[in-house]
Amino acid sequence: MPVREGGGSYPGDGVKRMADVNLTVDGKKLTAPAGTLLIEACKSVGIEVPSFCYYPGLSLQGACRMCVVKIEKMPKLQTACTTVVTEGMVVATDNDEVRQARKAMVELLLGNHPLDCPVCDAGGECELQDMTFSYGASESKFMEAKNHREEQQWSPVVYFDRPRCILCYRCVRVCGEGMDVWALGVQNRGVSSIIAPNQDDHLECEECGMCIDICPVGALTSGAYRYKTRPWEMNHVGTVCTHCGDGCKTTLGVRRCDTGMEIVRGDNRDKSGINNDFLCIKGRYAFDFAHSEERIMQPLIRKSGKLMPSTWEEAFELIGKRFAEVRDKDGGLAIGVVGSTRTTNEENYLLSKFARVVLKTNNVDHHRTADFPALAAALHSKPGQTASMRDVLTAPAILLIGNDPTNQHPLLAWQIRTNVRLRRAKLYVINSAPIKLQKQAAGFGLLPAGAEAKAVAFLGGDDSQLDSLVSDGTTREAWTALRDKIRAEQNLVIAFGSELRAQDIQTLVSVSSSLSGAKLICLGDYANSRGAADMGLYPDLLPGYQPVSEGGRFQQDWGALPAEKGLSLPEMVDAAKAGKLKALYVVGSNPIGRLGIDPFTFSKSLVVVQDMFLTETATIADVVLPAANSYEKSGTFTNTCGDLQLVKKAGEVTGTKPDFEMIVRIADAMGFDVRSLVPFGGGTHADMGQTRGAQSGEADRHAVWLEAHNLEPKMTPFDPMAILDEIQRVVAGYDVSRTNLLAGADQHIEIAHCGVGASHKPELIVPANDDLFSSGTLGRYSHTLNSVYENKPAESEIAAD
């Protein structure tokens, strides 16, 4: 049994899986696999043994002594969190002796605990409060002065209040074992013991806030949330994080404010979703971009060279008129559409459809960060070869080619670390840089920059590549040994970054197909990068990777479609320069800022931008429409693995609209019958019950407009669920269980069931290169991310030390 820092071991360590054992707990007979901890065995039959220091998945401590139980034939009470079940064990979890012991433990804790629950952030969701209540412990037994210490700020997001700390060491373990950051320690001893940050009086860490989240009391608190509100004054909405492609489920705490609904907290304490309780700094804190002062809250129209506020009506009318003019005069070819990697599947689908059906153009693209079409092509009709985010947690082995998940895919990195730690999964890393996950790796191949594709060919048996793989870090022999190890693995999950594109992916798929049970994950950068690809934001592909030349099913559903493939983003830029692109419609994207396009390129085109902020692209627009973000709308996201999840409306900022509605309104302003764009009203099987709650805010605000158009308020053309029906019907691979989806369960999309995909030029992929503290446009407007950023010691300072 490996021994942890300071004693103890991981649950189930070194215990051979043997036959089940039978035991009796509180008179109930139960059976549990040998090696199960008593506390877990109890839980399995609904008997909750109280605990402070025990936390599933983290090393055992036996420190708080709250979980004591009486086991027959044992003279002393035993801790259920460190006791392994044995055959014939007879346990009492709640007799007088046990209750008295727990009561005394709480009394002792309260002896030094400030009773400031009314102002404590944890008040109302504090485990110590709960225990005090359960065991009727009074604090009056002790009359000595309490040990006092001032509260400390350790970082922009982490505050520590020592007197409230009960020393359960959860924070220390989650930071070390879970995050592999090891930024927290225990110092001094006895009653002077204290949790200490790694830089004496402050923290230098990943600022994930896991420590705060896991703290059972209010000792660690969040700079973002402190003293803002009380838990019972918030509404809690479970949705999906909008910052990276991993798709963490997050529960947003929201409350009313002047401008709508403000998000004040993000966590996943209920451990629902693919991420258990994990969130990185962005998921946990960077929702605050939504309340940035720079948010646009009114449509803007360029008048005499300046963007001036206007009404929605004026804006939609203008756009509708101009788009129709261009389309009718110059044809759909003169219009470009740039979609978003952060809008919902429904919006992306709608935009894809709108472009083809209303604007009559295939000039559709988005900021591509991974080559999903190549994956679709390589896996076409070969199902069962992609992994979900959950698979990463249980796979016996993982191969990571390229990318730096610690920075770019924090959840993926967490899953990998957790799997390696708790299940002894083998991790193999092939990278051109020594990334942090190397620490967990059973094998590491250091590549010369850009040689990822060669490594894949080598894995496939092409030994001629060997010379170009060898580096100071990895010799020929080491590469061969690494390949042997990888080839011997069963049920390997292979995650690869955007270093692999086009033909490389084909090669990789043939390698993985030769390994028994191997599954792939293609890593794209933004929250709905995968959804943008799946929903056909490509000039040559319709939703479901269906080539535009084979529009078949879509022609039936959508009507006549342009058959020629359209312009990619760089081609649109060329067309604009040549004066052939008369209009550009940009939805939730910032191509000028992100892709380094000359801002003057579009000076002669009509540019319409839907965004939250005056981005580089919005600044050159003729019309800017203030958009809601994904925390302010409903729909679905598909994460980079292909896990489809429900997005729910949590926040609200008055003066903004979801992109979905704006697209519909533009279509309407162009004189298009919105009923054929969004199949709302009778005849669909949309779930009205579930969607109404989340959508009611929008419905209210638009009741007037709806009535003017003689529409059913209950089932509106702005209801993304209506189009989800259509997606499920027509987009291959998306016909997953609606019930499970609405129940909050993630549904894995099988890309193999999609269309034939396509082979694109590798240079169309432009990785976002975000790290833990940035997430493109959103990150720039997050106060928290910025303050953390500013707080980091500058590189030069470190060097000068």
């Binding site: 930024a183 320690g185 110092q187 004496d200």
Partner: protein
């Protein structure tokens, strides 16, 4: 950070005694402190680096052990045991006497930096109580008068 030849020799030897580097930490800290006067930031950085530890890990360990300190003490650290066996034979009075004589309290240091004083737990001299350790030297079966003599001798030695 410069340590003595003897320190370096012992350190190098010690590293060969254990399967993990960090095992050498606790005794090394004490020897380093003896040479540097205290476990200063500089010493911590140096030892952390030598033993492949983070500074945090080193600080966690330092703060646990009562002999280790990050702040310099006097040249002669007078450690008076007041635990039970010594207490029964006047340990507390001895401590009071030292406080008065040196004009400092528990964990205090005289202005000239010559003495610091500490009330300590049992030092393993119970049968020869009351006992005091000055740095590593034991002084046993003490009385107030004998204590005075002991302190005077150190004073002489220290100001020579």
């Amino acid at each position: 950070m410069k340590f003595s030849q003897e320190f370096e020799q012992r350190f190098a030897d010690m590293l060969t005694h254990y399967p993990t580097k960090r095992s050498a930490l606790v005794p090394t800290l004490l020897y380093a402190q003896d040479e540097a006067g205290a476990l200063t930031d500089e010493v911590i950085v140096e030892l952390a680096q030598r033993l492949d530890l983070t500074e945090l890990e080193v600080r966690n360990v330092i703060s646990y052990y009562s002999m280790l300190t990050t702040k310099p003490r006097g040249k002669y650290n007078v450690q008076v045991c007041t635990n039970i066996a010594c207490m029964l034979r006047g340990g507390e009075e001895l401590l009071n006497h030292c406080q008065k004589k040196l004009g400092i309290g528990h964990k205090g240091t005289t202005q000239d930096g010559l003495f610091s004083l500490e009330e300590v737990e049992c030092i393993g001299a119970c049968s020869w109580a009351p006992a005091v350790q000055v740095n590593y030297d034991f002084h046993e079966n003490l009385t107030v008068d004998k204590m005075d003599q002991v302190l005077d001798e150190y004073k002489k030695k220290g100001t020579m």
